[in-house]
Symmetry: C2
Subunit: 422 residues, 2 copies
């Protein structure tokens, strides 16, 4: 890897940011706002292919964000794009769904262990809101338990931000600590006879803190609490779905959800979300009114069928686990060589890489990611990253060539966490 | 028009419905659920082209629903699809937006009178929720006024259904009657110093009742009330946007919104929504956290740019107004000839056609739409319909040939509204 992107040589990105400053509040919104990243990260992109993305200034990166999750088979997977093109040539939005809606629902029911039925939406937030609405409709109760710090969407009832949100929007939320069965029991107790649902993420993937897989005891306790109370166990598989276990992420722990929300990777980047549920919640799911103008479009469902077929065919989760482990092992070896110690957490297919001993502002993590970016590798050290099946051994090894350089550069300058004496 | 679709000759639709009964609660969800339509309406579609849609059994219809709004330049408009194809060949979802995000925001700011900035989402509900959140963030207040019976989305705070919704989800909603300035003043009074926003639809397009354009007095009163109280005037242009006035639907009445929500027709069927706002709300819009996994995708924004360009080039609203008036005049003449009297309401580009003297279950409307459907014209008589620029004089005249037959059939059987003596 002789690639070395100059941070300042990004005239197109700079011009677009200047134009955006006039017509987009704050220059950009939401999770893809580059201002939240170390300087040098591009805001605007032009293309992606396989495991690579290219920014508007033509700089190519090995991509470990995969569009923050949606891309799971690599950018522009030919089978998926062919399925999209075939349906797109027939029509975009019609006066009803296409047959893909039925085929995709059948596919999910066959693939996701707990699923007896499916409904489709556009955003992960749509799917989570639908799950909660269905749980309330079936149980006739209101309280919803969520883990402290967990992300379940960007709508008022669950947004991580309280700006513009009223306290009534979250009046029936109660909190527990992920993997803490005692705190879960306390929250269940507090909800009393009004417990509609316990919401859990596939694993703890909160921003900026080490990730945690659910313990067997916690997963079983959540299931048992719902069974005892007659509440719904909702697994938020929006971020992790289809990367860890095609049967549903909590099936790995032997626990079946009542309702699951999927989105991100379901259609390899095409806009789609899904709720799956079991028979207990079927009637309620037929009574709630959830809909959207574009929710019936065929192309994204065709993309999902192709994506799930391909993930099944190649055992996608195993491929990504292996690729993620190769990256993890390589980074650990390099860190040790250069005198750093990493804290790598979460499943290998969705890794979070932090520096032990880093300061509160993650000075080391920032510097490392910036050096890697200059060498053509797009990493993130606060949000979990995403592997895809396009991360071949060769791509991982190319990325490791670059991170070797990043560690070397880091060791040379060795920025000390603030607060430590030089 | 010798076309005559046999209602029972729909084996593929029937088979799909039977399959869906197992894997989709209630067989289908939301506004495209055909069970809510007269029998004979297909549930599943295969394609669309120009002003025509084709169902899974190969029956073609002149389409007056336009996918319930999204299709405005006709199905598969070549310029729009070319723009989509060009961006889609580059990538679907990347690690940031493409330059189309900036270009589209600039286009909206140039086109929509009140707009100083724009933000993009996927659903109309996303856009409306964002408007309310921004209004609350800027004003520091909570109360939101909406018209009785108005549709603003399918999420708990505004859903037309209360199934699975808690009273707290709507704790800060207050209601007024559209076009009733006294009731608006009462609601403003009730909100007192906690008034964050008044929400109005482009016009009254509530399900199953005659449509009403806003009166000049009402539009000005809503604007004045917001000015006086320091609240936001939010125009829900999700359904009507770009069909009536490219500058924003309420500009026709000389009233500028503070915040507007657009979706449906913005990208000719491709999934996109937008919020536009003025400078007063810019800072608040930069502070709220609203986002979604697919909100940065370039292809739908490229589609929107192409759609808005084409609508500007051909003066789309004038084209649709003219086509809608041709349909309206033709239907009125046919109705008179066969001894019926229609109540046609709303703007010609978004017509609602009802039968004067019809009963509460709209027996006449049902029968007329069913007869039209059998003759290859897809109408709706409870929800407003949608014209598009693909509705040429020739298409309107073909449709009128078919409705002539539908009126003749109706006159022959003349089903009397229930409750009337035969």
């Amino acid at each position: 890897m002789t690639l070395q992107h100059a941070q300042t040589n990004s005239p197109r990105d700079r011009i677009l940011r200047e134009r955006a400053a006039y017509v987009i509040p704050g220059g950009m919104w939401g999770h893809q706002r580059a201002a939240a990243l170390p300087s040098g990260y591009p805001q605007y992109f032009s293309s992606g292919k396989g495991a690579r993305v290219t920014d508007v200034d033509g700089r190519e990166y090995i991509d470990f964000m995969c569009a923050w999750g949606p891309v799971i088979l690599g950018h522009l997977h030919p089978t998926v794009e062919a399925a999209v093109a075939q349906q797109s040539a027939q029509g975009v939005c019609l006066n009803g769904p296409t047959e893909h809606a039925v085929t995709l629902a059948e596919r999910l029911v066959a693939m996701v262990t707990h699923a007896d039925w499916a409904l489709f939406q556009k955003n992960g937030s749509d799917a989570m809101t639908t799950c909660v609405t269905v749980a309330r409709a079936e149980t006739g109760r209101r309280k919803v338990l969520v883990a402290h710090g967990a992300y379940h969407g960007a709508v008022p009832w669950c947004s991580p931000s309280l700006v513009g949100v009223t306290s009534e929007d979250r009046a029936h939320l109660l909190h527990f600590t992920f993997n803490d069965t005692a705190s879960l029991a306390q929250a269940v107790e507090a909800a009393g006879e009004d417990l509609a649902a316990i919401v859990v993420s596939a694993f703890r993937h909160d921003l900026g803190v080490p990730q945690e897989m659910p313990s067997a005891a916690f997963a079983k306790a959540a299931r048992a609490a719902c069974d005892y109370a007659g509440a719904a166990l909702i697994v938020d598989d929006v971020r992790a779905g289809f990367r860890l276990n095609l049967a549903g992420s909590w099936q790995t722990h032997g626990v079946a959800a009542d309702l699951s929300a999927f989105s991100k990777a379901i259609a390899n980047g095409h806009a789609l979300a899904a709720v799956t549920g079991n028979d207990r919640f079927r009637e309620a799911a037929s009574r709630v009114f959830v809909t959207g103008s574009f929710w019936y479009s065929g192309a994204q469902m065709a993309a999902a069928i192709a994506t799930l077929d391909e993930l099944s065919r190649i055992d996608g989760p195993a491929v990504m686990q292996r690729a993620g482990q190769r990256l993890r092992d390589g980074l650990d070896a390099q860190a040790a060589h250069y005198g750093f110690e990493l804290r790598q957490s979460g499943p290998p297919a969705m890794p979070l890489v932090q520096f032990n001993g880093d300061d509160a502002t993650a000075t080391l993590g920032d510097a490392f990611c910036t050096e890697a970016l200059r060498r053509g590798v797009y990493l993130h050290h606060r949000h979990n990253m995403f592997l895809g099946t396009a991360h071949t051994d060769a791509e991982i090894d190319s990325a490791l060539d670059a991170t070797e350089g990043a560690f070397a550069a880091l060791a040379k300058t060795r920025p000390l966490p603030s607060g430590e004496a030089a």
